[in-house]
């Protein structure tokens, strides 16, 4: 996923549930349809939460990775 264009980065490091998902919900609506948002979070529940977010909203989690306790997600706005 090296060549994706990131429309916005949402830094949720240090925030705990439910703030990351709330901020993601607002941020995804702030970018254009089809654009990609990068989200950084240290919330330990982030992986299942992002899967649930994708399932319920339809916004697509394109990629996820983890390094030094920080999760990084790329989420595409689909609608």
């Amino acid at each position: 996923m090296a060549n994706v264009v990131i429309a916005r980065t949402l830094d949720c490091r240090g925030l705990v549930c439910p703030l990351p998902v709330i901020k993601l919900s607002k941020a995804i609506k702030s970018i254009a349809k089809g654009a990609i948002l990068e989200m950084l979070t240290t919330d330990p529940g982030a992986v299942p939460d992002l899967q649930a977010f994708q399932k319920q909203t339809g916004h697509e989690v394109l990629d996820q990775s983890q390094a030094e306790g920080v999760f990084r997600f790329l989420v595409r706005r689909t609608k």
Partner: protein
């Protein structure tokens, strides 16, 4: 909660604890906010002692833990993403509360409306 039958998902939470149990007061707002953030239409119905959480002045002073944010913080998180708050008259009477004693934006419903919401929701979750 609207009465339409489109494909929007709905969760109705029921909060029965109030200021007598601060440790039971915040969860409903966490979960309701999380659901609303996933585009679910969310309402919280406060009954039994639940309406005491909505008394003007209470959210700012009620602390879930000795150290930490007051309930108002979690309540606002939920409202910011569109969670709606409902009460009914008998549960206000139980705690000698009137609508004007409550924070702004709380909606009054009756038993029929509550049951209708429950029937139209995809899930009802009680605390």
């Amino acid at each position: 909660m609207s009465q339409s039958t489109d494909d929007v998902k709905r969760i109705l939470y029921v909060q029965t604890s109030g200021t007598e149990a601060p440790e039971r007061s915040a969860t409903v707002f966490f979960l309701a906010a999380s659901a609303a953030a996933m585009d679910v239409e969310v309402g919280i119905y406060f009954t039994q002692l639940g309406p005491t959480l909505l008394q003007r002045g209470t959210p700012e002073t009620l602390r879930i833990k000795k150290v930490g944010a007051p309930l108002a913080h979690f309540m606002e998180q939920a409202r910011e993403v569109g969670v709606r708050f409902y009460v009914c008259q008998p549960s206000l009477d139980l705690s000698d509360l009137k609508m004007e004693d409550l924070i702004d934006g709380v909606e009054m419903i009756g038993g029929a409306a509550f049951n209708n919401m429950a029937l139209e929701a995809d899930r009802v979750i009680c605390f």
